[in-house]
Structure formats: structure tokens, C-alpha cells
């Protein structure tokens, strides 16, 4: 017999009746509120949009209307309509500084009435183009998949689909998971020690794993079999892996870079499984390697330097010294496009190889081109509590120094649209920065223990962070506030990744279970 709910109490009934009787007062904007003079700036370039400021009545100044306006100013027709995120500088009540805030839906109530913004002055609105698709914030744990016998140290989604994820663990295996059904697909056995790094090739044909046993192994994700032999060469453990971007590969001959504690980076030919180049020059353990799309490899090391190498001959191009302590992590503005190559949000994959390369190149150039120039920016996070933003093609001077963290910065990432930088550190905070000039935007507070990793959603509207305090948190990049709190892990979260199609978030940590989160 089902339980019968008790009837509502008298107080509940009177409350409900009261609520029904009283009409909610509508927020009226007075007709004489005047007009705002708005000058739009493109956030990617920093250049003004249109000729001079535009007059907009206060009542009509909503983000929706501004979006139409900017699209009209840029001459986009309805088929190529792009959503925008608007921000404007507002003087802070408590401090003297000016903070950038999102353009509110009711600007009269939030900004004009409290006299924070006046209709007399020209307002400089910065417009950041957004992805035309939208990712919904993950909100629940779709599946908890046990299987690993030890802590999970690295996870990565397949570049093509959110249905496949690989995770590397301390039980000396990597595992491929079917995230739709929440079941294991393959166990990649072979390593004799912890698997520290996992990486899918951008065309999804191979998986590379780097381990504590000083080897790199390649696997076929379809069959779960190892390809060839273990690639030996390093004398200490492998810390990081990077595949050559699809558009710059020689067709069918992908290369792989592996960074190691033994201070070298080795570039392997994935087919022959031989060492093509050894990049030696660092004096300390290499913490991160990234393979850029413009013919450079970037390495960050514990010897406080970031080095830039030519990919074809392995010659050192630049050494970027500015950091005062270990460099922990690097991020490229084109990371997302390099990782996903020709896989885009539509899910359509070109048939022939030439078309794939063409599409990958097109996507890369679209992400990297700013004002007609191909610019690949680099940000390095360090133990000296700061980050530096670099433009390696323009020389060895940093573009900006990103100050604000109060402890070591562990992880840094660019948003897929290249407009934001998120950095997470041991001071329990995640900070958001403007990727163009390195200006501080906001701090995301909420975690109560070091934040280990963070990942942007592919549309750059959301950010997920994983922390030592056993939770994941999803943050909204428009309001810069907590969107969803995702408890569920029983212990520290070591690795988190957002799938390139935006459907799922995968995380793993010390509690040995892979968790898949989705909307």
C-alpha cells in the first residue's frame, strides 16, 4: 500500500491562498529613463565595432537586443547569427577598482538606479563571440564505474564522441569505458607501474599511455590491443604526452612527444615506434609538453624555464625564463582544436583523408587567427604563484604576468574559444583571466581544498573544476558564479575532463571509481 500524504496544514493552506491572491509586482522601467550610449568592442581583438557609440533606450537594453544589434553592426545575416557575451566595466562599491561584470538583463534596476552607471557617459561594452551550440551544465552522476584497483591518475575523452573515455590508474592499467552504458570496454594491460598520462590521438585511431615504468605504449582503442612494443628510451617516468596536430602530420605518420622526469622530451614515430628526436636541454624534470599547431613544441620544466623547440629538427627556438620556480603546466590557446582536429560539434566527419586534413587545418586557423595573423598563445603556470602569458611567435618577452594566486598554480587552461584563461591552484581558488591581455576577471571560490584540475566545456560557457575536497563544481562563465555542485566522489579528485562534444564530464580520483556526469 502506498503511503498517503497528510493533507496540507492550515498554515500551508493560508500561505498558498495568500500567494495566489497577491499579484507579483512587475519591475517597471520608467519611460523617462533615457538612453544608453554604448560603444562595442570585440573581445578577441580589442577593436571597436561600428562607427562610434550607438544610442539604445534603457528599456530595450537587454543582452538579447544587444546581440541583435552587434550582429547587425557586423553585417551578419540571420543565417550566420552569432551569440555574444557582453561585459562592461562597473566601479566597485567597496573598492576603488573597476570590475568587469556581465551585462545584466535589467540594467535599470541593477546598475542605473544604484547610480553605478550613468546614461550620460559612453559605456564601453566588450562583446565576446560565443559558440553557436550550447552545452548544458552537467548536473548528476550518470554512472559510477568501478574497475580500477587503485587511484585514477589521468582521464581523457575520445576526440570524436563522449561515448568513449580512457583512464590511467595506479593499478598499472589503463581502461577504456563506454560512457553511454557505464560499462568497461577494454583493459589496457602491459605497464608495470602506474599509468601517469593518457592521450588519444586527434584522429581517434590510437591511445598513448605514459607510465612510471619509463615506457610509452600505444594501444588500439577499437580492440584494446597494444600496438607494437613498449617504447623504451626514457630513464625516468613519463609525465606528459602530446600528439602531433593532425593538420601538420605527414599523412598516416603521426608523431608523439613524451616528456619525462629524466629532463628530455622524446619524439616518437608512432608507426615505427622509434625515437625520431630527443629534445634535451632542460635541467629539471619536465612537467608538461604541448605540441603547437605552428611548428613548435612547448615544454615547461622544473628548472623554471619554458622552452620552445622546432618540430622538424628539434632545434631549440626560444627559452622563456621569467618564472622563479617550477613551471607546472602549460596551455595553448589552440589546445582544444588541436585535440579534436576535424571533429566538430556537428559530429560530421569528412570521408577522405585530404578533407580531414583540410578541415583540421581550417578549424585550427579559425581558432588561431586574430586580426589576420596566426597567433598561438601560451600560458604557463608555476610554483611561484604566478602565471605568464606568452606569445612565442613575437619573441621571448611575456605579454602579461598574471598575479593573484596565493599558492602554487597547478593547472591552467584556455577556453576553447580562446577568450578566457582559467587557472586553479593550491589556494583552493580558480581564477579567470582575460586571454587577450591577461587581465584578471574574477575568482571562483567554493572549494575548500586545493583545486587540482579544471576543464572548459566546448562552448566555453561553463567550467568544471575537480578538487581535493572530493567534489566537482561547475561554474557559469557568464555570471562567474557556481552553477552546480557535484558531490559524489568519496576521495580526492585527481583528473577531470569535459568531453569535446559537451555531453559528459568524466572524473576519477583516489576512490578508484570513474564517474560520468551529465545533464
Amino acid at each position: 500500500m502506498s503511503t498517503v500524504l497528510p493533507p496540507p496544514s492550515k498554515r500551508q493552506r493560508t500561505d498558498a491562498a495568500e500567494k495566489a491572491r497577491v499579484q507579483q509586482d512587475l519591475e517597471e522601467i520608467p519611460a523617462d529613463a533615457g538612453s544608453l550610449r554604448l560603444q562595442f568592442y570585440d573581445e578577441t581583438t580589442g577593436l571597436p565595432i561600428g562607427q562610434g557609440p550607438v544610442l539604445v533606450p534603457v528599456a530595450d537594453a537587454t543582452p538579447k537586443n544587444l546581440e541583435l544589434l552587434v550582429n547587425a553592426l557586423l553585417g551578419h545575416d540571420s543565417s550566420e547569427h552569432i551569440p555574444y557575451r557582453f561585459t562592461l566595466p562597473v566601479p566597485d562599491k567597496k573598492r576603488t577598482e573597476i570590475t568587469t561584470t556581465a551585462f545584466p538583463t535589467n540594467i535599470y534596476k541593477t546598475l542605473i538606479a544604484p547610480a553605478l552607471v550613468s546614461t550620460e557617459e559612453v559605456q564601453n561594452i566588450s562583446a565576446a563571440p560565443q559558440a553557436v551550440f550550447r552545452v548544458q551544465a552537467v548536473s548528476r552522476c550518470a554512472s559510477t564505474i568501478p574497475g580500477h584497483g587503485e587511484a585514477i591518475l589521468a582521464t581523457q575523452f575520445s576526440p570524436r564522441t563522449s561515448a568513449r573515455m580512457v583512464s590511467g590508474s595506479g593499478d598499472n592499467t589503463a581502461r577504456i569505458w563506454d560512457c553511454d552504458t557505464g560499462t568497461p570496454v577494454h583493459t589496457l594491460k602491459g605497464h608495470t607501474s602506474w599509468v601517469l598520462a593518457v592521450s588519444w590521438a586527434p584522429d581517434e585511431s590510437k591511445i598513448a599511455t605514459g607510465s612510471m615504468d619509463n615506457t610509452v605504449r600505444l594501444w588500439d582503442p577499437k580492440t584494446g590491443k597494444q600496438l607494437g612494443n613498449p617504447m623504451k628510451g626514457h630513464t625516468k617516468w613519463v609525465t606528459s604526452l602530446a600528439w602531433e596536430p593532425y593538420h601538420s602530420q605527414k599523412l598516416g605518420e603521426p608523431r608523439l612527444a613524451s616528456a619525462s622526469k629524466d629532463t628530455t622530451v622524446r619524439i616518437w614515430s608512432a608507426n615505427q615506434q622509434t625515437i625520431e628526436l630527443v629534445l634535451s636541454g632542460h635541467k629539471g624534470s619536465i612537467s608538461c609538453v604541448k605540441w603547437g599547431g605552428t611548428g613548435f613544441i612547448y615544454t615547461g620544466s622544473h628548472d623554471k624555464t619554458v622552452k620552445v623547440w622546432n618540430t622538424d629538427n628539434g632545434i631549440l627556438a626560444h627559452t622563456l625564463n621569467s618564472h622563479a620556480h617550477w613551471v607546472n603546466h602549460l596551455a595553448l590557446s589552440t589546445d582544444f582544436n588541436i585535440r579534436t582536429a576535424f571533429h566538430d560539434h556537428t559530429g560530421k566527419i569528412p570521408i577522405s583523408d585530404d578533407e580531414k586534413v583540410k578541415k583540421a587545418k581550417e578549424r585550427f586557423l579559425k581558432a588561431a587567427t586574430i586580426q589576420g595573423e596566426v597567433v598561438e598563445r601560451l600560458v604557463s603556470a608555476s610554483d611561484d604563484f604566478t602565471m605568464y602569458l606568452w606569445d612565442p611567435s613575437k619573441g621571448t618577452k611575456p605579454v602579461a604576468r598574471l598575479l593573484g594566486h596565493q599558492k602554487q598554480v597547478n593547472h591552467v587552461t584556455f577556453s576553447p574559444d580562446g577568450l578566457l584563461i582559467a587557472s586553479s591552484g593550491f589556494d583552493n581558488h580558480t581564477k579567470i583571466w582575460n586571454a587577450r591581455d591577461g587581465k584578471f576577471i574574477n575568482t571562483l571560490r567554493g572549494h575548500v581544498a586545493p583545486v587540482y584540475q579544471c576543464a572548459f566545456s566546448p562552448d566555453s560557457r561553463l567550467l568544471v573544476t575537480g578538487s581535493k575536497d572530493t567534489t566537482l563544481k561547475v561554474w557559469d562563465m557568464r555570471t562567474l558564479k557556481l552553477s552546480v555542485d557535484l558531490p559524489g566522489h568519496k576521495d580526492e579528485v585527481y583528473a577531470v575532463d569535459w568531453s569535446p562534444d559537451g555531453q559528459k564530464v568524466g572524473s576519477g580520483g583516489k576512490d578508484k571509481a570513474v564517474r560520468i556526469w551529465r545533464h
Binding site: 587503485e150 587511484a151 591518475l153 589521468a154 590508474s169 595506479g170 593499478d171 607501474s193 602506474w194 601517469l196 598520462a197 612510471m212 615504468d213 617516468w237 609525465t239 606528459s240 622526469k261 624534470s285 612537467s287 622544473h302 607546472n328 603546466h329 597547478n410 593547472h411 575548500v448 581544498a449 587540482y452 581535493k468 575536497d469 572530493t470 567534489t471 555542485d485 557535484l486 558531490p487 559524489g488 568519496k490 576521495d491 580526492e492 585527481y494 583528473a495 583516489k510
Partner: protein, 261 residues
């Protein structure tokens, strides 16, 4: 000049006697024989003293041998820096003993139902009312009737406490014996942290002592663990956690407690 300095001077002037090396070698060689003879022949107090000295010598010897052995061990290059797997970015860091292990230990423990009622100090010494309270004999009426009591043990008094009018104040908790913080040890980690006390949960002596906030050995207190950064399974920050007092605070002048996990 003392004798030894004359001896030094003589040595500096004339050197050692010619058979010095031989004599010391022989003496060292006979040391074992001498020791064995002493061990067998000495009696009484001398024997006792000798055995004690020998015992200490042997301990030192064993320690030294052990140290040498450890030095000689050829270690196979430690492949993994720690036994628990760590991600790449935490590998070369010296990890401070983390209070995080706390919360997982607590979670594991909670699975056992019986553990709920077990505390580190299951038995306490009974404290009589005579020991706990001193009768206050000041003032004419108070002295005559003898109804006012001063608590002779340390107490915890909450921050929002205000004294009642003197007429109604039956128990006095002396300012000098009030405590706000406790040294709380985590039993598994062996870490001790000075944490603010939130409240007294249970004094095993008497429910009234609980009300009065008396801190005696075996009392369960609630401490503020928020700076340890513990998190519940639901992702909420743990604020208060219980601990049991392990020392006689009235004798020691501090409150030591052990966290209940």
C-alpha cells in the same frame, strides 16, 4: 698545575715511551679476557655496577652493528616514490600529512555500527561532589546558608554566557579555569592541532557537569575542525567533530583531547 698537564708536558717534551704502541695493542688484545674474568669473579655491588656498564656497552654495540648493516644494504632503485599512486603533478611535492585522511578514516569507521559507542577512554575516575565544588563562604547570608558553590575544575564557558545576578548565581565558574581551545590529536595520523572548543557534549560524571561545561578526563567535547578542510560525502564542509579529553586538565593547565573517529 694538575697531574695530567704535567703528563702532557712530559709527552710533548720527550714523546711517548718507546714500547707504547706495543703495550696499547696488547692491552686491547687482552680486553676480552679481562672482561670475561671480571664478569666471572666480581661479586656484590661491583658485579652489579659492572653488569650495568656491560649491558649499556652491548646495547651501543648492537646499535652500531645495525647501523652498519643498513648502510651496506644495496637498495634496488625505488621505482615508486610512495606506495599510494599519485598523479604526475603531485609526484615531486612533499605532501604534508594531510588532514584529508581524517575524513576517509572516519567514513570507513562509521560503517561499523559498534564503533559508534566506543571511545578511547571507556572508564573514568569518579569525582565526588566535595572535590568538584567548594562551598563559597563570603557574605553574611551566603555563609550562613552555604548554598553557593565554586567549581574547582576547568570549565568551558560559551561565548554568549552572561552571569546571572549574584543572588541567583549558584555555581561560579572561575575565570582562571576557563578554556576555549583544546589540543586535539588525530589517533591515526598522530597529528595534533589546537582547535577551538564549540561545546561540552557529555561529562561522564554527572549530567549536571555537562550543563556546567566542566572539563574533566573522559569528557566528550565538540571541537571546530573547519580549518582542517574536511568534507562530508555530500560535499559540505565539516564544522564540528567530537573529541574526548585525555588528560587531567586541572593538573596540567591545558586541554588535550583525542578525536573520535
Amino acid at each position: 698545575m694538575p697531574q695530567n698537564e704535567y703528563m702532557d708536558r712530559w709527552r710533548k717534551l720527550h714523546g711517548r715511551r718507546l714500547d707504547h704502541e706495543e703495550r696499547t695493542r696488547k692491552k686491547a688484545a687482552r680486553e676480552g679476557h679481562k672482561a670475561s674474568e671480571d664478569a666471572q669473579k666480581l661479586t656484590g655491588l661491583r658485579a652489579k655496577l659492572y653488569q650495568k656498564k656491560r649491558h649499556h656497552e652491548k646495547i651501543q654495540m648492537k646499535k652500531q652493528i645495525k647501523a652498519h648493516e643498513e648502510r651496506n644494504v644495496k637498495s634496488s632503485a625505488p621505482n615508486e616514490p610512495s606506495t599510494t599512486p599519485l598523479p604526475q603533478y603531485l609526484l615531486d611535492r612533499s605532501n604534508p600529512t594531510n588532514a584529508k585522511a581524517l575524513s576517509s578514516a572516519i567514513k570507513n569507521k562509521r560503517a561499523e555500527k559498534a564503533a559508534k559507542f566506543s571511545v578511547p577512554l571507556p572508564k573514568v575516575r569518579g569525582i565526588a561532589e566535595e572535590e568538584m565544588f567548594k562551598v563559597v563562604k563570603t557574605g553574611k547570608k551566603t555563609a550562613k546558608k552555604g548554598w553557593k558553590r565554586m567549581i574547582t575544575k576547568p570549565t568551558f564557558v560559551g561565548p554568549d554566557f552572561t552571569r546571572r545576578p549574584v543572588k541567583y548565581e549558584r555555581f561560579i565558574r572561575p575565570m582562571g579555569l576557563r578554556y576555549k581551545k583544546a589540543h586535539v590529536t588525530h589517533p591515526e595520523l598522530g597529528v595534533t592541532v589546537n582547535l577551538p572548543i564549540i561545546s561540552v557534549k557529555k561529562n561522564p560524571q554527572n549530567p549536571m557537569y555537562t550543563q556546567l561545561g566542566v572539563l574533566t578526563k573522559g569528557t566528550i567535547i565538540e571541537v571546530n575542525v573547519s580549518d582542517l578542510g574536511l568534507v562530508t560525502a555530500g560535499g559540505k564542509v565539516v564544522w564540528g567533530r567530537w573529541a574526548q579529553i585525555t588528560n587531567n586538565c586541572e593538573n596540567d593547565g591545558c586541554v588535550n583531547a583525542v578525536l573520535l573517529v
